[in-house]
Amino acid sequence: MTRRNDPSWPGKPLSALSAAVRTAVITGLAISPGAAMAQEAIDLSKWSPEYVRSIAGTGKFDTAAECAKTVPLDYAGRVSVWYTGPADAEPEITKKFDKEFWEAFKATYPNIAVEAQSIVYNDLLDKLRTSLLGNAGPMVVRLQILGGVEFAAKGYLQPLKPEDVGYTPAEFWPGAMKSVTYDGASYGIPTNNETMGFIYNAKIFADAGLDPEKAPPTWDDVVTYSKQIHDNLGIAGYGLVAKQNAGNTPFRFMPQMWAYGGSALDENSDAPTLKTVGLNSPGAKAALQASYDMYVRDQSVPVSALTNTQAENQAPFIAGQLAMMIAHPAEYAKMVDLAGKATGKDKEVADEVVANMRYGLIPAGPDRRAVVFGGSNIHIVQNEYVEGGLDEMGAKALICFWTSPEWSTKLAWVGSNPGNLRGFQTEWMKERLDTIKFLDVTTSMLPSGIPFPAIAEAPEIMNIIIPDMLQNALTGKMTVDEAAEDAAAKVEALLGGM
């Protein structure tokens, strides 16, 4: 296996597309309408924690002025929108910015009547499917990064590209733009993007004889570290997650698979066709073998991994019974919250865990360093499926406002990052970096992000076939080879229209 595509491996060449895209981004930003107001164009080739800090707070943006170029501020109309707003358990600052956003939009566009519905994450897709069947959808909908493809494929969404609301594609992550592109056309605009980080407990590392200030650099090291921690301390090393039909599973397994050179289709290539199946490739099998080694051979991960989602990893981690896991930038805040609720001896342990919590880059593999490119996109529903009809200008005004540098930053405050790259230059990004621990680490993973394949069948491949493959191998129902071949055959059949 070759070691390429990752700065941590010596002699790594930059892939042709990455280089081209980075150049395009730099160029694109320089000519984008909003960029005129930015202090300096963003150079993705320099992306690192230091670079992210250096550009934060260097730009000033006037949201109203930018959006006025697309939709006049005195425009009178209406817009209906569905999205997943802040839940009760979310931090106050998230709720505050959500409230301020709607107030600011109202102040900027006083003649546009807004009907906004916040729908919980797990219900939004089903509710949208049902409403669209009855031509009762909203004008605008914000969906998780993989959610829009199905609706674009079915013809429910109106083509929508950044230029339609006054921005350029270069102002958004290339991976994010891939996620809104179906069959060559763009059907949405990224609102926020995030990549996960590798979290570990430095004290457990030290107790197990590992370097407490160094995250495992490669996935092979994760296997080794996990075994060493389990053998020396009797606790679980890596928080493997392999539940069926759960989004958490592919978000944690695919980075491992891509790192070893495997893929579901060819989504990790520079020019994906999304027609070839990669689940039975040597890289995919190597990643599956690594999981098998941790679960079956070394028994160094939670036995409950087969029924666990990431939420079930939080309790053992805060209790000091789990050393490593992959999680969102917001996981630190969650752990602080859990420690705050603990009492007595549990609180002592939890406080110690929080003090020893470290973020590192997602480990690299023989092929590359990779992480799932996550986030959300905003879409416009075709007129015939909108209850009461579509007010396109009203919809565009809202989308311009939402995806502006200012609001794409504020609305992604705790758990994500601005979809509009110019958001990284705002004063609010600087404030986030100053107040949110480890944000610079998770943010620096963004260039390694790979979006899930933008095809309508992707949810079935990612949420069902890949977790099934893991379970078939980890339970011993099939060998690693058989499980990989079985999964590949299922994807072939699915793409073949079975």
């Binding site: 039909n245 029924t307 053992p316 949810p459 079935e460 078939n472």
Partner: protein, 315 residues
């Protein structure tokens, strides 16, 4: 009470023509017509829609209106898929084992509580808890009791020296389904207990005493006197339990989601996954139609059991 609104020539019997009976009871039918219309809309139409959909291919990339007619292909796909037979076997094991043991435990509890003893009311209330507790709450409770790393049962088994490490209940393909069945039995035996306690009230005390005088022992009194009187209620209870178990969703879905590796996947969870996980509405509809036919068969026997003896009775 039936309200006849037209002339009838003598009492109507069940084998009279349907039309004649409707005419004779036209006022009754008029009263229930609104309810019938609502039922047609909310029950009959969805059933028809599901049957219709089961003959179409509905790929994730197409709207439902763009579905393509494939005849019996969805049924053929289901019946030739290895998963169908493993899911069917799981469903049968789940249904039969849950029903049998819930009934048996319920019968034992009913017989125990039938006698007067101090604290009977309290014990009866306690035994009813599994039935009244929310299935969702019960599923999460048992999930944590069973948890393969930090479960209470596993911890106690290690602490008391029964095992070296926590027992793997839910993350093992051999133990997942039996573990779920235990939870289901725990949830359902109270229902059987209530039904059978009601049935026990119908057993004539004189008969039991006469049998005792005749020298019958406790088993003989149960087998020859009590059991025949419980036959009707037992049949209804078993049928209701079977119907409920065939349709069980909450416990298996919340506790294992049908896993690991399909080890606890039963028809309902499988259909849910095909419909909402894979967006394959046509295939899921075909599965649902098969389940519907099975349920209708059970329903037929249920109605037969309920109406036994009604035939020949004047209306």
């Amino acid at each position: 009470m039936a309200v006849s609104s037209g002339p009838t020539s003598g009492p109507l019997r069940r084998d009279d023509g349907l039309l004649r009976r409707i005419v004779a009871h036209r006022a009754d039918y008029a009263y229930v017509l609104p309810a019938l219309v609502v039922m047609m809309v909310v029950i009959a139409y969805p059933i028809w829609f599901t049957i219709d959909m089961s003959f179409y291919k509905t790929p994730a990339s197409l709207q439902l209106r763009d579905r393509t007619f494939v005849g019996w292909k969805n049924y053929q796909t289901i019946l030739t898929a290895p998963a169908f037979w493993s899911v069917t076997l799981n469903t049968l094991i789940w249904t039969v084992a849950s029903t049998f043991f819930a009934f048996l435990l319920g019968l034992f509890a009913a017989l125990s509580l039938h006698r007067e003893f101090a604290g009977r009311a309290v014990l009866r209330a306690i035994l009813l808890i599994p039935y009244v507790i929310s299935a969702v709450a019960a599923s999460y409770l048992w999930k944590w009791l069973y948890h393969s790393d930090f479960g209470v049962i596993g911890a106690l088994s290690v602490q008391w020296g029964f095992t070296d490490k926590p027992i793997n209940f839910l993350d093992n393909i051999h133990t997942a389904l039996p573990s779920l069945i235990v939870v289901n039995i725990w949830r359902e035996f109270s229902f059987a207990m209530i039904m059978l306690m009601a049935g026990l009230q119908t057993v004539p005390e004189q008969l039991l005493r006469a049998a005792q005088v005749d020298g019958a022992n406790a088993w003989q009194r149960f087998w020859h006197v009590t059991a025949p009187h419980l036959k009707g209620v037992s049949m209804v209870t078993v049928l209701l339990l079977m119907v409920a178990n065939f349709n069980s969703f909450i416990v298996p879905y919340l506790m294992t989601g049908g896993g690991p590796a399909g080890a606890s996947d039963i028809w309902i969870t499988h259909i849910y996954q095909i419909a909402f996980g894979r967006q394959n509405w046509g295939l899921a509809s075909a599965y649902s139609v098969i389940l519907f036919i099975v349920m209708m068969c059970l329903g037929y026997f249920y109605v037969q059991a309920l109406t036994r003896g009604d035939k020949g009775r004047p209306e």
